[in-house]
Symmetry: C2
Subunit: 150 residues, 2 copies
Amino acid sequence: MVTSPPSEPAEPHRHNGLVDALVQCAFVTMAVLTKAGADNDLSLTQMRVLAILRDRRVRMTALADHLGLEKSTMTGLVDRAEKRGLLQRAPSAEDGRAVEVFLSPDGATLAERLYAHVGQALSPTTSTLVPIDQRRLQALLERMLEANTS
Amino acid sequence: MVTSPPSEPAEPHRHNGLVDALVQCAFVTMAVLTKAGADNDLSLTQMRVLAILRDRRVRMTALADHLGLEKSTMTGLVDRAEKRGLLQRAPSAEDGRAVEVFLSPDGATLAERLYAHVGQALSPTTSTLVPIDQRRLQALLERMLEANTS
DNA sequence: TATTGTTATACTCTATAACTATA
DNA sequence: TATAGTTATAGAGTATAACAATA
């Protein structure tokens, strides 16, 4: 198909260049995140848990909602991270049924290290743009995401 | 920590706004892709397999390399997709050890449907930008990614 | 009765190691 | 001997359903 006739375009399904660029960018970014996590024996989901708990103490259900996962899935994720000493569980003071989750000191340290690691790992990519274009890209992305968040 | 004193910024670790924007954008995009896949009972990885095979017939090892996975992982992925009738295996004509993988008609149809589905699912996000800014964003992303690919 | 979380179960995804067949 | 692929095995991530404890 590499030598397809001129009547058939080389990439017949490229309906929307921006969508393709976003998807490709997402895969590149995710690959960097995944690698950064793997270097610390963390899955993407475990990294997200650490990121969420960096400045919060939340209940199991809230954590599951944040991540779009089932409560039962959270039990396993938190079990494994707790066993590794990255986070802790404690009963809620307000609701006897609820359990609150928060980072341990080790978990907090790892979360900081990971954040710095990811920034460094992405810098070869971001720094291919000159600073002005970096700011333009950031502004466009933020505008696009902000409209979708609110 | 929500009511932290003014001496401590609300987001103490925001070293690089572009990195944060890229990561957030990647998660939003991946969520859309994952949802589009789940609607068709496909994992992200299975979707990537379909995307790769859309215009190619490749060997197991090449597929594993494309995805950054082990050969043995590919065996399982291809087994399940083949069992669902989405793709097929055939021995290589040139190398008796090699196996080539390619989309079945059903797989090709699904790949097209998925591609359109993803475009539609992302359009609420992309269309928050006016067309000129969409083109600017696309150009910036492509420039950034191209420098990293080549 | 409804909600919070866990347990039991099952399936997919992933890797490592050992194996078969071909080169 | 090296390479292509599969099998066996193990562990993580995920969901559904059933359950216990609390509200």
